[in-house]
């Protein structure tokens, strides 16, 4: 990612952290966005389904790996017997072509892998990005140059190709979902590291950080106590977008044959196997595709919601948390800043500000409160 893009995304999200004012306000603003709430509920439900997969399949009376040869028409390529892909009381969402494995079970177990891999990969990306980005911003000139160069190299390496190569090197005995998460995490942290570095540089200029430096705090202590809280907002915002992206990468790796290994189901793997069945057994494709769509949609909307809630300026633009619920039916991705005529009457509490240079100016205590 170029400096330019980092700069522009930093502009969009930067002031958020330092200017956020309190956890309570954050929740108030988040609660005011109905779409974000729905999205949060959906995400929570997805996580719950993934966690409860064994329970859910036990209720259904199926498991994701048992073959049911009698439920598919062998002579016709293994297309499920019965209408709608074999949907019925025994198999709530029908069965998989060729094998007759239960689709509901595979879908909910697949959620575990897809969400787990994506979340773990995001975690790895965030960890590396924070370490590299903060170290580059706070370190000596040569440290910065070295780390920035490494970041540049990582950004320029094609993700798919490196994943193919790395996944082939590691022995097959290594747990595959962990490996896939690690590989994605280890290769795709460059952009985030650049954003972290840009934010840290901005934060470094702030009075309270400068004061801490002057009073002789060590770099480590400053990073931990003063910077990390300030970085939380852009990290959360960006991570909410990384998770769906990582789900997509896992799917693509499955398509290329190096994803999670069967019989472990994942949505990506299901999509890969199902795309040719689009005409003969459409539900086989539509189920994982639908699940993936809902997940990405929910995470995107939630991510926007969190960003808005963290960024009072955006919040005020969206009339969020100002008590005007009617104007704040804020679906962050589909909705809408307040109409033009309303803007001049904006709440004086958050003075509008030019975007040219980030000038976050919130007092230190407020920041801490926001992320406490």
């Amino acid at each position: 990612m170029s400096e330019a893009l980092v700069a522009s995304t930093a502009l969009a999200a930067d002031s958020s952290a330092a200017r956020a004012s309190g956890a309570r306000q954050f929740w108030r603003r988040l609660r005011a966005q109905r779409a974000a709430l729905v999205a949060a509920a959906v995400v929570a439900l997805l996580v719950l389904v993934a966690l409860a997969a064994p329970l859910l399949t036990a209720i259904e009376g199926q498991d994701p790996t048992t073959y049911h040869p009698s439920l598919v028409d062998s002579a016709r390529g293994g297309v499920p017997v019965g209408p709608l892909g074999g949907i019925g009381a025994d198999h709530w969402l029908g069965v998989e072509p060729q094998t007759g494995r239960d689709l509901f079970a595979r879908l909910v177990y697949g959620a575990r892998v897809s969400l787990g891999v994506a979340l773990a990969a995001t975690l790895v990306q965030v960890l590396i990005a924070v370490v590299v980005g903060v170290a580059a911003a706070l370190g000596k000139r040569w440290v910065d140059q070295l780390l920035s160069r490494i970041t540049e190299i990582i950004v320029a390496l094609p993700l798919m190709i490196m994943s193919l190569a790395l996944l082939a090197i590691v022995p097959g005995s290594f747990p595959r979902p962990v490996l896939v998460a690690l590989v994605i995490g280890l290769i795709a942290w460059g952009t985030l590291a650049k954003i972290v570095r840009a934010h840290t540089l901005t934060l470094k200029q702030l009075d309270y950080v400068a004061a801490a430096r002057l009073s002789g705090w060590g770099t480590w202590r400053i990073a931990r106590r003063e910077l990390l809280p300030g970085l939380a907002a852009p990290l959360i915002t960006y991570s909410a977008l990384l998770v769906p992206a990582n789900i997509g990468v896992e799917a693509a790796l499955s398509f290329l044959g190096v994803g999670v290994k069967p019989p472990t189901p994942s949505w990506g793997q299901m999509l890969t196997a199902a795309d040719v069945w689009y005409q003969a057994a459409p539900q086989y494709l539509l189920l994982p595709a639908g699940a993936l769509f809902v997940t990405v949609l929910a995470l995107t909307v939630l991510g926007d919601g969190v960003r808005v809630a963290l960024d009072p300026r955006a919040a005020s633009r969206l009339r969020v948390g100002t008590g005007r619920r009617s104007e704040a039916k804020a679906d962050a991705s589909t909705d809408t800043p307040a109409g033009g005529a309303d803007l001049p009457r904006q709440d004086a509490g958050t003075p509008p500000q030019g975007t040219a240079v980030p000038r976050p100016g919130a007092p230190a205590d407020e920041t801490k409160e926001a992320t406490a």
Partner: protein
């Protein structure tokens, strides 16, 4: 403009260092990749003696650093090689010969690159129109049906893997509706019209995946601009909403869009693997995946370098354009 000259020089130097480092990484990673390269090249039924001959011919027995040194030599000075019947010269910058096909990698790249560039350039137009259009709509015509539909489409594009979108588009548009023939790549120089018709679906598939990011960026940048003081002043003076959106808000978002676009373009040159594979476009991505699978190191290194080059260049271009579009930013 000594500042600009210095910027270009620093960038060029940095690019060279980055590319060099990438080539080292690829060499090391693929050195560690399982698979007996000589056996793969020779064929599964080759005898141990033949495999040794092939290994010798490909210099696979040399230590890693020697092989890497030959690679650098080839780039700077070119290299001579034998076809068996004659000695040929691969002029600098020579990226070596494919283990599998004995083709010059540089030539291979030159034949594949136009395909990838055609795909990505066209897709770029589509994702800009679709993405920025959606973004503008969602900042302007908030909440109307057209805006919601477009936003939904772009999000669905992000959420659905390209191999699913592409296949369904092909089955429906080409197979059932018969609106278009099944895509097969035609050189632009041979027939520009057919080139475009055949690439339409690949463009659309690839663009759908990228469009949502543009929609989001456009929207948030526009909202950012709309909240600025001078816009409020314009409004106070009674400047029309259409004019404010068109002349000011979009312009305000332009810098970010340019930056994101250059980035996406750079990574898509090599990142369109799945699109190229599905539509059978003989581009860089498709060839690269094949080369990785048969551990064809010279091809992998050469192509990854080209991709890295595009990413780095695209980033540099982004920085310059960004600076031009948004004069508030000074080049570092």
């Amino acid at each position: 403009m000594s500042g600009f000259g210095g910027f270009v020089l620093r960038r060029a130097l940095g690019t060279a260092v980055t590319l060099l480092a990438i080539s080292v990484i690829i060499y090391v990673v693929f050195y560690a990749t399982p698979g007996n390269v000589a056996q793969i090249t020779c064929g599964p039924r080759c005898s141990p003696v033949q495999v040794r001959q092939v290994a010798e011919q490909l210099h696979l027995g040399d230590p890693l650093y020697v092989r890497y040194w030959h690679f650098l030599e080839g780039i700077l000075a070119g290299q001579d090689y034998s076809t068996g019947t004659s000695v040929q010269h691969c002029p600098a910058p020579c990226l070596g010969l494919s283990y599998q096909t004995d083709q010059q990698v540089t030539r291979l790249i030159l034949t594949k690159l136009p395909v990838s560039l055609s795909l990505v350039f066209g897709a770029m137009v589509v994702w800009l129109v679709l993405g920025v259009g959606t973004g503008v709509l969602s900042a302007w015509r908030r909440g109307r049906l057209s805006e919601r539909v477009l936003t939904g489409v772009t999000l669905a594009g992000t959420a659905t893997p390209v191999f699913v979108i592409g296949l369904i588009l092909m089955i429906v548009v080409c197979g059932q509706l018969e609106l278009l023939p099944f895509p097969q790549y035609v050189n632009f120089s041979d027939d520009p019209e057919q080139w475009a018709w055949n690439l339409l679906l690949p463009w659309l598939s690839l663009a759908l995946v990228e469009a949502a990011a543009f929609a989001r960026l456009t929207r948030s940048s526009m909202l950012e601009t709309l909240a600025e003081d001078h816009i409020r002043t314009f409004r106070a003076y009674g400047v029309g909403e259409r004019s404010i959106i068109g002349r000011h808000a979009v312009r305000g978002a332009l810098a970010s869009i340019i930056a994101l676009n250059a980035n996406t373009f750079g990574s898509a040159v090599g990142g369109a693997v799945l699109t190229e594979t599905l539509f059978g476009l003989p581009g860089i991505g498709q060839e690269l995946v094949h080369a990785v699978n048969v551990v064809d190191l010279p091809v992998v290194v050469g192509m990854v370098l080209v991709i890295g080059f595009f990413v780095v260049i695209a980033n540099a271009v982004a920085d310059v354009l960004y600076a031009v579009a948004d004069r508030r930013v000074v080049l570092a």
